[in-house]
Symmetry: C3
Subunit: 363 residues, 3 copies
Amino acid sequence: MTHTIEEIARALGTEALGDVSLTIRSAAEPGSAGPDDLALAMSPKYAEALNGGKARAAMVWPGADWQAMGLAAAIIAPRPRMAMAGLTRMMDPGQGYGSGIHPSAVIDPGAEIGIGVSVGPLAVICAGAQIGAGSVIGPHCYVGTDVVLGENAFLREMVSIGARVRIGARFIAQPGARIGSDGFSFVTPEVSAAENVRKTMGDQGEARAQSWLRIHSLGAVRIGDDVEIGANATIDSGTIRATEIGDGCKLDNLVHMGHNVRTGRDCLFAGQTGISGSVEIGNNVVLGGQCGVVDNIFIGDGAIAGGGTKILSNVPAGRVLMGYPAVKMETQTEIYKAQRRLPRLMRDVAALKKAVSKLGSTE
Amino acid sequence: MTHTIEEIARALGTEALGDVSLTIRSAAEPGSAGPDDLALAMSPKYAEALNGGKARAAMVWPGADWQAMGLAAAIIAPRPRMAMAGLTRMMDPGQGYGSGIHPSAVIDPGAEIGIGVSVGPLAVICAGAQIGAGSVIGPHCYVGTDVVLGENAFLREMVSIGARVRIGARFIAQPGARIGSDGFSFVTPEVSAAENVRKTMGDQGEARAQSWLRIHSLGAVRIGDDVEIGANATIDSGTIRATEIGDGCKLDNLVHMGHNVRTGRDCLFAGQTGISGSVEIGNNVVLGGQCGVVDNIFIGDGAIAGGGTKILSNVPAGRVLMGYPAVKMETQTEIYKAQRRLPRLMRDVAALKKAVSKLGSTE
Amino acid sequence: MTHTIEEIARALGTEALGDVSLTIRSAAEPGSAGPDDLALAMSPKYAEALNGGKARAAMVWPGADWQAMGLAAAIIAPRPRMAMAGLTRMMDPGQGYGSGIHPSAVIDPGAEIGIGVSVGPLAVICAGAQIGAGSVIGPHCYVGTDVVLGENAFLREMVSIGARVRIGARFIAQPGARIGSDGFSFVTPEVSAAENVRKTMGDQGEARAQSWLRIHSLGAVRIGDDVEIGANATIDSGTIRATEIGDGCKLDNLVHMGHNVRTGRDCLFAGQTGISGSVEIGNNVVLGGQCGVVDNIFIGDGAIAGGGTKILSNVPAGRVLMGYPAVKMETQTEIYKAQRRLPRLMRDVAALKKAVSKLGSTE
């Protein structure tokens, strides 16, 4: 599918200049763009590479001298990544799953399939499941008993959704995402060493070795509208009530959400981040990659943590965090600097001790 | 399925008080409990919320004044999470997989399927596999060649088990768990830079750039009784002998077990923890979430590590650990405190240097 | 399949001694080896265990007195792990997937299947996909639209490959590996708090709460020859161009590769390591388990990082790293030592302050 420069600019709500009737097939990096591509040159750094490619049109920054770059047309992108959102949506060729219900899919007669739903080969949809209109159930997907899935969901291949999970509109799940696995919750008949350690911060006490008994997950998972879950990410079911992911949250690949977690809206959890059981998270929280959050704490609205941060205690709203254990990012930056100077500090203190001892003895 | 208060208390081995003939449909949090729910109010903190719900019966702590809470009946829970284990087991509605062998399952005629086994839609069971009586093979599961799976296994959807893996009784696997992937084991023809670095702790030496040759995994995985593996967790096969997971071990979501790992019984590995190749782990070891263990070391019986701990050397039995690199938890707590005061310490030492220098010069 | 000692030694390019016509069924650890096994006793430490087994032949180190160990034959292994690569390749019994196209596989008529390809039960191959000669597509695999897969690929069960991914020869993917999931790329209409934090290293600024808009992934993934991807690992598609994994790279289980990442050849990424978006990685880079790399940086040729290292800035070629944040391994070793002495250092400085203050006052 092709678009004219004018159509693209209109869709993005930005300005088009030059020969706006030029037709575009796809987007490309400046150096590898062909004559039918829209080159992405939203900063001077990328504009230079235009010479190596054959683009006739580019998306450029406000004020760029696009004619001097040898272009016939240009789209102005005042906020480049925002323009990318619109542009990539228009240009996305999709996965090519095809429409309709594939004959190899196994759909229980007790499932309710909405209008315009497509179901890929070898997908399974169980009794009582309700699939919202316009949804795409990818190949090899599993939608469990009594699941409610909102309108216009898009499940990539091999996604699984456990029994009784409820999901809002426009849900996106990447390959291998697991929604509604059982929570990791075990107990020993008597107080365990691990329980003692948590209380004493280090002392095992007198607990004897015991085996673990399982606490089953009776709750499922409830997910709001406009949520996206990454490849091979996992969201555990709640123990009594559902684990809850708020509207607009985005979870990256291999993210883990423990049982009973509750998040607000519009949170971002980057790759391999893990949230332990019963954590309460506010709105607009952003956790970088490989963050970890200990169980049973809360993280206030708008908190932000850098990659690798391990959060071991409650976080007030608006706090910016880093480190293991997490402290304010500015404190952590100071700590890092100090750490690198630690070996030298050690030597300084040793020298001081000698000097002071000498001073003392010469008094 | 409903149960009377009396039946529940008897099953849990605890005391029931009041109108013990009340029938219960499910468990609920106090604030959202309906008249047929058993409210969970095992501490005073939760009891207050009973007013917001409609529960007639609750599980309460020993000595609670349940009548003053407006309840008609109560079950006493001296160890709340222990009571939860029994209660949630009784109340678990399950995944609704259905019984019998689904016609879409692909079962090799050379597989032995025990009595009462159910096999979900589109599951694959290979030649030589033996499935113990009463086991549930979920939808889209894969059970490889010559796998032995004990009695009463429960495999959630999309679990895969590689060739020759042997698993004991009552195995539970969450969606997407991978048992018996090949070990990550590679070698270069000549000594590699990475080998030099390991020996010298930092020096690459003179190694030249080389490609990696694969060491295949001839061993498989052997898993004891009563083991549970989390969603999308992975357990690699051993190189010559099997990787071994002892009786009663529980692995959370996204946990990784490298090739040749051997664990004792009743260990707990929380979410996203990773164990490198050839690690030997004792009994009753508990590792919090996102722990890491370097290859070829041992961890003694009853060792416990807090979330995020990176274990880089052998751990004696009974040790409680924290930090990167792992040290005794009490030491780590001291280090954390000291770290936060590091920037101030830097300033103090600088001031001391000045003062001492001045003292020295005024002598 | 059996092999004589002579055949094995010839295949490994090493020396055989004694009764080289002995036939071997499989490899075994010295203590559990039977009379038809080749015991692996490549160091004196393992040789002692031979007494506990029944091996008649062993692989031993150069100069070992194999006759004194009671063996009838021996293979000399000057570089033990190198010998293991060859030996395990010969002895690998495989997964037993069987040959040919399983009738339950769903193969689009528009797919091109090379000579000698086998396709397991319930695999899906989409229109436009090209499968190279001799490849094995395991059970439950998914090969997307227009995927190009080179010769002699081996896909274990439940691997998924998204649309337009291109992969070289001899590709190996472990169970549940995900190639070509969509990148994790979101933007807010106006500057977000997270953007401010990145710039200021800690200050959220005045950004208001906003929802996230998705940037779609138009690029796919391009993978070189001789690449192996671990179980449940994930590789995201690029935004405009493809994410690229160079020839000979090996990714362990649960590794995450973000969108637009580009790696050179012969890199090794151990378990649970995560690479954020748009990272450029050179050749022969080795990252231990649970490493993390922040987005938009580069890592030079031959860089090596120990397990758990979090790389937050550019890395020059040949650098050896450790820690969070990553510093030179030798620096980190010094920091670790100093950290453990921190509590004592705190006390020393406090004592010094007192002593200096006293000296000052007695002047």
